[in-house]
Symmetry: C2
Subunit: 174 residues, 2 copies
């Protein structure tokens, strides 16, 4: 999926979305976790800007190195070596790993090339996302963002929050 | 220690310090990790704003829940129940845990009451920090910040970055 969000000016521009995400999780009675590579912790930071977030947020595994991806989240060593950290398969394993590690109801992962740099095959702005849930739900997404390092991180955080929000919004307890 | 930093206006105000921290770590040949409770991922986000941060940053364990503190970082269950997550002892165990988990050279932890709320014993703004290193270095700090939730998170991130920067600066390879 090629996504065309506008670039958020800064973190504060995403506080509203973080609040909506928290509200949706709370109303659905879901506990969420995150696995972050290129965003480094930004999604966890945004979710914890919201007072009372401990009622629906367990934590975010910042896994910048290959070794951390393997050790914390159980990402397959051979697959990392073969396909690289920026791949749909690794995003999937990161989300499944975060779900297990945090004993969460729903987890979302982010792995990409924030930039600068990149290759023809994996250009700057390429980011894979995955949502995994204890009800068996699984959603894979891919974006190619047009911004700089900072903008690509903000766009990725926005996208990941929206995946969580959307999943939770569909599961409101009525 | 009662600290009197001024409140950073926003995350971008801390990018310079994150850059200095990265440079100091790089020049000392050290790999760093972080364990974040009340900051939620902000320190990891700031460190990964710097291009090339994978050369000196392994990741940040966002451990918002008690269970995550125990499971990821090996914080003692009985101690958590007895002293609460916001305590010098838990900060120490979080830093030691992050050092082990990420196989890092140096790790810093942050656990506190960002607010709103708090108690007489543990007021809003109370934050414990701990730095642990593979060379045996250990540094415990405590601050009582005067700001709101957002400001207290920014002040805490600033302080944790400065602990890392200062440790690394004293260990430059000459």
């Amino acid at each position: 999926m090629l996504t065309t969000f506008t670039v958020p000016t800064n973190e504060e521009a995403l506080t509203g979305l973080a609040k909506e995400t928290g509200l949706a999780l709370k109303q659905a009675g879901l506990m969420a976790a995150v696995a972050e590579s290129c965003t480094g912790g930004l999604v966890g930071h945004l979710l914890t800007e919201i007072p009372g977030s401990s009622a629906w947020f367990l934590g975010s595994a910042g896994v910048y190195s290959y070794r951390a991806k393997e050790k914390l989240l159980g990402v397959d060593h051979a697959r990392l070596q073969r396909e690289g950290a920026v791949s749909a398969a690794v995003a999937g394993q990161m989300a499944a790993g975060a779900l297990r590690l945090y004993e969460a109801d729903v987890a979302v992962s982010i792995t990409g090339v924030a930039g600068p740099g990149g290759t023809a095959e994996k250009p700057m702005g390429l980011v894979y996302f995955h949502l995994a849930a204890s009800d068996g739900a699984s959603q894979a997404e891919k974006a190619i963002w047009p911004a700089d390092r900072r903008g690509n991180k903000l766009l990725s955080a926005q996208f990941a929050l929206d995946m969580l929000r959307s999943y939770a919004a569909d599961r409101q307890i009525t």
